[in-house]
């Protein structure tokens, strides 16, 4: 039993890591532009599909993944430039509908480019399982967990130590004040969408070997990322990473111990119950309402 629990914990942390990456992307865009980006899951799907496509062209694996991330980052930038920036001054609901439109558009794009088939992706370094404390760990699990840790560290460094990162952070605190002290807010928006799309693409390339990928697989992943971001307290990057890990572990435990049929339902039930008790998420600060 204990072995099983350890196994579920490892699988949960693996899936949770990808949720954490997706949630980070959500949080970044939300903080800078206050938009809930419903196309976040589609960045994940595009990253995975592009990586599969490039590696199919007999490219070395890591080149394929890097190209996929660059391509998706570029798409994220175009999305900001041609949709979000154009709609300046539109209400938040309109902006959300734009991201919904974009998610449908990206799905359509993937459908045209790669068809309706479910594609598989090679494991980064073989599929020989490592046995550890009675649990079976795939090398891919280690790749996912360690790369997520690296990305989170790099981002933490970027936002706390570099001038550029601090400028983005400043925009997320106060858009107008940042403009006044000479920060190019538009550029920061573009960069944030780019980074967010890039992180999403990496998450996609990482999860594709274990969960397969198709043009419509992004939606559920995006929802889980949104769920993780809310769980951690919307807008809190640290919280969204923890939210992702918690969501992954809870999901894997419940589907392992009870039944996998209601796996998705369980995570949403937990989320609902949590929101009833703590409406601001696990790590969100309660805000007093201004009248």
């Amino acid at each position: 039993m204990l072995q099983n629990i350890f196994q579920f914990l490892i699988t949960g942390l693996t899936v949770g890591s990808t949720y954490a990456l997706i949630a980070l992307g959500f949080t970044l865009i939300f903080n800078v532009s206050h938009v809930v980006n419903f196309a976040q899951g589609e960045f994940v799907m595009l990253g995975a599909m592009a990586a599969i496509f490039f590696s199919g062209l007999k490219m070395p694996l890591f080149l394929a993944i890097i190209l996929a991330i660059i391509l998706t980052t570029f798409i994220g930038i175009l999305f900001e430039k041609f949709a979000i920036e154009r709609a300046k001054g539109a209400s938040l609901t309109s902006l959300i509908i734009i991201t919904i439109g974009a998610s449908i558009f990206f799905r359509g794009l993937a459908l045209v480019l790669w068809g309706k088939n479910t594609l598989s992706f090679q494991h980064f370094s073989g599929e020989n399982p490592i046995r550890f404390l009675g649990a079976t760990i795939l090398p891919q699990h280690l790749w996912i967990i360690s790369l997520t840790a690296i990305v989170v560290t790099v981002l933490a460094y970027f936002f706390s130590k570099t001038l550029f990162g601090k400028a983005i952070l400043a925009c997320s605190y106060n858009n107008k004040a940042s403009k006044l002290i000479g920060i190019n807010v538009n550029l920061m928006l573009v960069v944030s969408y780019g980074i967010s799309a890039g992180i999403g693409a990496l998450a996609g390339a990482l999860i594709a070997p274990i969960s397969y990928m198709s043009y419509d697989a992004g939606t559920m992943l995006g929802l889980k990322g949104f769920c993780a971001a809310i769980l951690g307290g919307m807008g809190n990057s640290f919280g969204s990473v923890l939210g992702g890990l918690i969501l992954g572990v809870v999901e894997s435990m419940t589907s392992g111990i009870f039944s996998s049929a209601y796996k998705d339902a369980v995570s949403f039930i937990i989320l609902l119950l949590l929101l009833f008790v703590r409406p601001q998420g696990l790590f969100g600060k309660g805000v007093s309402e201004r009248v």
Partner: protein
């Protein structure tokens, strides 16, 4: 009477259309679907557009109504009307129990909570196969009967859907024109302000949530008999999002806007189907473009566009 002029024109046009376009497939098939969606959009708009809340589980309530009629009439051989009342009762109870804790939430948290509720109900439709027959859905749902009159055929259902749409429009317009409607608008403009002026906002929000959920459920009950077959796919999150899109594209807070949005987005795929694989691509682009160029929605956008042209013409004459 004068205030309702638009409503009477609309109702008359809706009922006369089949006489003008005789045996039109587009009108009786796509049109009927569009009217069902319009009913859902109107009820969702009542909750979202006027009281300023967010709901992403409207399709699930529609589904409860549909499943109630499907299950009770096929498995237990209940009368369709009793099944409809049962559906209303189930939807009413679920939304009543959950309304207060869910509506305590605001903004993105509210969106996430309603989205979660919608997904949970949808998973139930898919997984509880001893009741709902799982992903395959339920077929062989009997026809609806008014006494001895059998309701079947596309044209008859067009009239049924029209009557329901007219009823919902009338209900919404009257509700908005009452004390309750004004209280709702007050919540939209500022909840604290509404509380200060003596409105029990928690109760009102919950009441409207339950009412609109039951409106969706009633439409669902009828849909089950119209189709004769239902499956979980019709009531998933995508459909809830599509309903949201309809009311935003039409214009939040405008009843006729919702009608317009529903008709527009329901018939759009019919026109786009010749694009085949590119259909989704174009659909997405149209959504984005509409929101960029007409952020207040098509209904407001287009009417402003035409009044703009009219004004220019008048100026030219001068």
């Amino acid at each position: 009477m004068k205030r309702r002029a638009g409503f009477f024109v609309f109702a008359t046009v809706l009922l006369i259309l089949p006489l003008i376009f005789k045996d039109s497939y587009f009108l009786t098939v796509t049109g009927t679907t569009a009217l069902f969606n319009a009913c859902l959009a109107i009820s969702l708009n009542l909750f979202m557009g006027f009281s300023g809340q967010v709901s992403l589980c409207h399709a699930a309530f529609y589904g409860i109504g549909a499943y109630s009629n499907a299950v009770f009439t096929t498995t237990y051989h209940f009368n369709p009307w009793i099944s409809t009342i049962a559906g209303l009762f189930i939807t009413g109870s679920i939304s009543f129990i959950l309304a207060r804790p869910i509506l305590k939430l605001k903004g993105h948290y509210l969106a996430m909570a309603t989205l979660g509720l919608g997904i949970i109900i949808h998973i139930f439709f898919v997984q509880a196969d001893n009741i709902t027959k799982g992903p395959d859905g339920i077929s062989g749902i009997p026809n609806l009967m008014f006494g001895k009159i059998n309701i079947k055929g596309d044209a008859t259902w067009y009239y049924m859907a029209s009557l329901l749409t007219i009823f919902y429009t009338w209900l919404s317009l009257n509700l908005l024109d009452s004390r309750t409607g004004r209280a709702l608008k007050a919540i939209h403009d500022g909840e604290t302000g509404a509380q200060v002026s003596g409105i029990d906002t928690d109760k009102l929000k919950a009441d409207v949530f339950v009412l609109t959920a039951m409106m969706a459920s009633l439409a669902g009950s009828l849909l089950a008999h119209k189709e004769g077959f239902i499956s979980p796919e019709s009531f998933n999150l995508q459909f809830s999002v599509e309903l949201l899109t309809m009311i935003v594209i039409g214009g939040l807070g405008s009843i006729f806007g919702s009608l317009f949005g529903a008709v527009f987005l329901t018939s759009l795929p019919e026109f786009l189907s010749k694009f085949e694989d590119f259909e989704m691509l174009v659909y997405g682009l149209i959504l984005i473009a509409t929101m960029i160029f007409m952020p207040q929605g098509l209904y407001v956008g287009i009417s402003r566009f035409f009044t703009g042209i009219l004004k220019k013409l008048i100026k030219k004459d001068e």
